[in-house]
Symmetry: C2
Subunit: 203 residues, 2 copies
DNA sequence: GCAGTTATGGACTGGGCAGTCCAGAACGAA
DNA sequence: TTCGTTCTGGACTGCCCAGTCCATAACTGC
């Protein structure tokens, strides 16, 4: 069966993901990726195709993992309200971790992806959709378990929380953990307000 | 006095800013900048120094202009509450405009700036600070004119609105204007809630 | 119209980039 | 041990990039 591989593709992908996450797609060079993964050029090209293919694989994998983690976390608490609190606490907590790249790969790339790059846009859009859906589901659960007032519209608030999450990840990128904390405190309070939909908002 | 310049530096900077805004620093080439500004290579290097210097000038100029526009807008309405509404309506409106680059240059660069790039970080941090200050001031004005409940803490809510703004600009980048609208509606409602600070939030 | 000064166009350079390719290494099978 | 297969290291390529440089153009003052 020929010479066996000297690396595990999955591990290499994880390392490559960290590089893209830290530096962004454009600023990342193949040398960066070779160093981080420890692969030889041939192995990397043989396994992943090209820098761009590798990036798309990294981005997709990152999004899938994050979505799954998020769904699990959101279902792991007694009430939906607690689950949402826990989720945002985790986001803040992650921003504090030393070894972890700052911000969120998907959010970062959303900010720098080219207008005509439909492939990256599709992955990012999918990520946006699935996070919004996860937020909407947990809010609905909150309606059922009584932890979130019924007047809180699930779609609207899901979009709100989603946008807020992206803002938080940008703040994480700038290392503004204090700002993140204050933001989360205010945002969570909005979930407990009953009259959020009653007033004729500005649209 | 020698041969006169055939261009206006200010205009060239405006054009260059649009390119960086659209493509991001890394993805922008000198050819892009030469084409957009119409300058010759010598003139561009003579006037702005280097690609990086030009970028820093573009970013600073963008931030200054945006901050000034924001302050003027926030002071142009009868009440602070109306001013904040108008500001976010403008952000959504801008996201709709066809000819305008998507999102916000400062927000985009915040997402892709390198960890060791202290110069860009400083400009972005300054922008973050001045926007937060502007939000805090308008909230204080709202306390005075009665349009914002006194329980709404100005610093906390300023940070909240600032983070939200960054999230909105990311959504603009992904062309999700619907999401922006829903987000703004929810966020503005939070400003009218009196008990936002009374509850022991998650921190 | 001449001298001095400044701006311009474009050829040029060196470096770094993504990606290719092949000789040989490292196995499994018989 | 030998053969077939698969993987690996690294030399190599060609391209595009930011930045330099200089001959010449375009002007002002005298």
């Amino acid at each position: 069966m020929g010479r066996p591989k000297e690396f595990i593709a999955e591990d290499a992908l994880t390392q490559a993901t960290r590089v893209f996450w830290t530096k962004g797609y454009e600023a990342t060079t193949m040398v960066d990726l070779l160093t981080a993964t420890g692969l030889s050029k041939s192995s990397l090209y043989e396994t992943f195709g090209s820098k761009r293919d590798l990036f798309l694989a990294a981005l997709s994998g990152y999004c899938d993992e994050r979505t799954q983690m998020m769904r699990e976390l959101l279902q792991s608490r007694a009430t939906a309200r607690e689950a949402i609190t826990a989720f945002f606490a985790l986001i803040v907590e992650q921003a504090r971790q030393e070894g972890r790249p700052f911000g969120c790969l998907s959010c970062n790339e959303a900010a720098q992806m080219e207008a005509h790059d439909t492939e990256v846009q599709r992955v990012v859009a999918r990520d946006l959709d699935s996070m919004e859906a996860a937020f909407a589901e947990v809010i609905d659960r909150g309606h059922a378990d009584g932890s979130i007032p019924p007047q809180v519209d699930s779609r609207r608030h899901a979009r709100f929380l989603n946008t807020l999450h992206h803002g938080l990840q940008l703040m994480a990128r700038t290392r503004s953990v204090d700002r993140m904390e204050d933001t989360v405190a205010v945002a969570l309070a909005a979930l407990d307000q009953a009259d959020g939909l009653a007033r004729p908002a500005s649209q």
